[in-house]
Every structure is written in structure tokens, then in C-alpha cells.
């Protein structure tokens, strides 16, 4: 079965009519009847207002939550069937506040999953150096620092490096640049777009910022009240005829950030 997973060529992630309600109370659905395929190497951006269910969808992928109805398949296998620890170690995860371990150095933070997977020391050390360079942090300067000695942008770079450490095929990102100042955010978005193209990972990216979605996505999926209301390429997204799409399009003109 493992070999089958390794050589898997279908959709990287697939939601099959997935619903999720908290404490299994029907009627209070956070996610209702979501079906969605994420091909290998795609960058799917989940766009929506706060409370639309974006983060819940993300947490259904790495089995931090299990669907109340339907199935979430990761590399062909339902998340309920996966050993959650094994599944999560194959999925990189980046969150808004980075969630770095304050008692670990930058190098130790990046080395987290390799150390959990008991990589030999030389391999881990080489990987840490490689990753810090990849995210634009000079290892000799940053490796031994603690997270509190970094700026918000640097912490987020470390968060990305940590997520990539064990070379997972899938990357989940929950508003990773949301807490940064606009200038740093734009910088990281540009770099991340280049990085994503180079790495060919399957990426699911959550944001409420349409500008960010248009910039990073190969496909934009718009959520409203736990349902998918639009799914389209970034090129066609603004032409989709749906009130929530128009509401987001309007945010481009008046929303936060630098006016176009």
C-alpha cells in the first residue's frame, strides 16, 4: 500500500461531498457538501470571509479534524484511514503567527520534523542550511537565534522552512502572511510565488485577501458559509457571476493595502 501511495498519480487531495459540524450537531454545519479536487502540483487558494470555513477545510486535510460526512482523500487514501501522525509528517503546515517554538533555535525549529523522523544528524544539518538559504535567511547569521530575536517576516520565513523540512508533497498555509506589514507581505508573496513554482508542491493556501489569491493561485475557490460558491482560474475569477465574487471584487478597490 505504501508503494501505491508513493507512486500516486491522481489528485493529491480530494474532498468528496464533505460536511463537518462541531460536536456532530447536525444543523450547525461549518462545512456543507464540499467536493473539490486538488491536482498534484496545483496551488489552490481558499478564499472567503472570516468564518466561511476556510481553515476548517485545511484542518480536514491533515486530519486535525475528520469529516462528519463524506471523505477527504489524501494521495488516494481517506484521512480517516491514515495514521494521523504519519499523514501530518508528510504535510507541511504554515500558520499566521508562524507558531515557532520559542524555546528552540531557528535551526532546531526547522529541524523539527527531520528530528521526529530520526534523520541522521549530518543529513538534518545539511537540510537546515539548504532550507534557510532557500527562504533567504543566511544560516551563519540566523541558525542559532531564537524566534523572539527575529522580525515578523523572518519568523514567517522560518515557518515556511520548517514546513518544507522533510520535503512533504503537500503544503497547507493558513493566512501565512496575514499578520505582516504590507511591504513585508508583498515581498514574501513575491518570493513565495517563485518558490512554489520551483518546488512543484501541492499547495492549499487560505486567505481573505483577493489580491493575494489572484497573485498566488492556479485555482481560486471561494467559500461562503461553508459552501463552495465559485471555483475558477485567477484569470476568469473576477468575471464569475456571483454576489460574493462581486463583494470580493469590490474589496480590491476599497480594501486594505495600497490602492491599485
Amino acid at each position: 500500500m505504501n508503494a501505491k501511495i508513493e507512486n500516486f498519480t491522481g489528485n493529491s487531495i480530494e474532498f468528496r461531498d464533505v460536511s463537518f459540524h462541531i460536536n456532530d450537531i447536525p444543523g450547525r454545519e461549518v462545512i456543507s457538501g464540499v467536493s473539490l479536487s486538488v491536482p498534484i502540483g496545483a496551488t489552490v487558494v481558499l478564499l472567503g470571509r472570516s468564518g466561511s470555513g476556510k481553515t476548517t477545510l485545511l484542518r480536514l486535510i491533515n486530519s486535525m479534524l475528520l469529516p462528519s460526512r463524506g471523505q477527504v482523500l489524501v494521495q488516494g487514501l481517506a484521512t480517516a484511514e491514515w495514521d494521523p501522525i504519519r499523514l501530518r509528517r508528510r504535510i507541511g503546515y504554515v500558520i499566521q503567527e508562524a507558531g515557532l517554538f520559542p524555546h528552540f533555535t531557528v535551526a532546531e525549529n526547522v529541524a523539527l520534523v527531520p528530528s521526529l523522523e530520526k534523520w541522521p544528524r549530518e543529513r538534518t544539518e545539511a537540510r537546515v542550511v539548504e532550507l534557510l538559504r532557500l527562504v533567504g535567511l543566511e544560516p551563519s547569521e540566523f541558525a542559532e537565534r531564537r524566534p523572539r530575536e527575529l522580525s515578523g517576516g523572518q519568523r514567517q520565513r522560518v515557518g515556511v522552512a520548517r514546513a518544507l523540512a522533510a520535503d512533504p508533497p503537500i503544503l497547507l498555509m493558513d493566512e501565512p502572511f496575514g499578520a505582516l506589514d504590507p511591504v513585508t507581505r508583498a515581498e514574501l508573496q513575491r518570493e513565495f510565488r517563485a518558490l512554489a513554482r520551483r518546488l512543484r508542491k501541492t499547495i492549499v493556501f487560505v486567505t481573505h485577501d483577493l489580491r493575494e489569491a489572484l497573485m498566488l493561485a492556479s485555482r481560486i475557490v471561494l467559500l461562503e458559509a461553508g459552501r463552495i460558491v465559485a471555483a475558477s482560474t485567477p484569470q476568469d475569477f473576477l468575471h464569475v457571476d456571483h454576489p460574493e465574487v462581486r463583494a470580493f471584487a469590490a474589496s480590491l478597490e476599497t480594501g486594505p493595502g495600497v490602492p491599485a
Binding site: M64, Y93, I95, A98, G99, F101, L112, R148
Partner: protein, 214 residues
Amino acid sequence: MSTGLSDWSFFMEHRAEILGATLEHLELVLVSMLIALLIAVPLGMFIVQRPALRAVSIGIANVFQTIPSLALFGFLIPIPFIGGIGKRTAIVALVLYALLPILRNTYVGLSEIDPAVLEAAEAMGMTPAQIMLRVRFPLAFSIILAGIRTATVLTIGIATIGAAIGAGGLGTFIFRGVALVSDSLILAGAIPAALLALLADFFLGLLERRLRVV
């Protein structure tokens, strides 16, 4: 009222006895603290994610704390196995007093971890045991140590009452001094006890600051 000079000469004459009582006192405190730690720290880890148990165990620890210490020593004497006259009963009472500060701080320290850190730990595929030992515990350590410090100072003070039930220690001088209306005797017990408390407070405080990670 005796003068400071006569107190000093009393100290010098009885220094061997005072030193012996101080060591005995330290023994009571160290044994009690060790037992309290072995109970309270694992218990604190266990109750962090179990709200019902948390309320019950902290509630019980709280009750012991409210019993006047002399009364608690008295209550324990008739209880079989743990009671009776002597060190063992005193140690049981001291453990009961030391539990609450350690348990409460262990629980508070372990539960007040940045949620983003815990979410990342879980999402990276750490097992619950790894999250406890490699994330929660190290981050809570200085707060747990603060509880240990409070408990130690408290125990050093309350251990003087152990003398009332024949546990020995510095309280022996104090009780004798009260009975004989001798300030010198009272001070011979009280001053070393106060010094012990101050020293313990100082050094544990130092350790706490040294080990603070964030």
C-alpha cells in the same frame, strides 16, 4: 526581654544543637518536597486536558491548604499507617501543604502555552507525549519552578510546627521557648528557619530566572 548580646552567646553555646535541628528541619522539608513534586507535577500534566479532574484535584489540594496547620497535624495523628507521633506524620502534612502551589503552577504553566505553538506542534505530526515533553513542559518550566519555590518557603515555615507532634527540627526550640518564656530559645529556632526560607527563595528564584526561555 533579653539583650541581643545574650541571645548571641546563647547561640554560640548551643550551636551544635542548633545545627543538628537545622539539618533535621532540612530533611523534613526536602523529603516532603520530593514527595510533593512526584505527586503534583505528573498530576498537573495529567489534568491539563481533563477539565473535570482538574476541578476536583485542585479543589482537594485547596481544601488542605485552608486547614490551619496545627489542626492538620492533629487530625493526622489518629490515622493508621500515616499517622502517629513523629516525622512520618509531619511529612504527610507538609506534602499536603506543598501540593497546591506546585499543582496549580504546573497546571497553569502547561495550559498557558501560545495556541499557535500547540497547533503547529500537532500539525507537524508530534504525538501527544512529544507535545507534552518537548513543547509544553519546557515552556512551562519556569512557572512550575515558581510554584516549587512558593511551596518550599511555605514548607520551611510550617515544618516548625512539626515539633508539636514530635517531628523534631527547628520548631523544637520555638515550642520550648514559648513554654519557658525564653526569647533566646525562640530565636534559636526562628532565625535559622527564616534564613533557610530566604536562602531557598533566593536560589530557586535565581534558577527560575536562569531557566526562563521566553
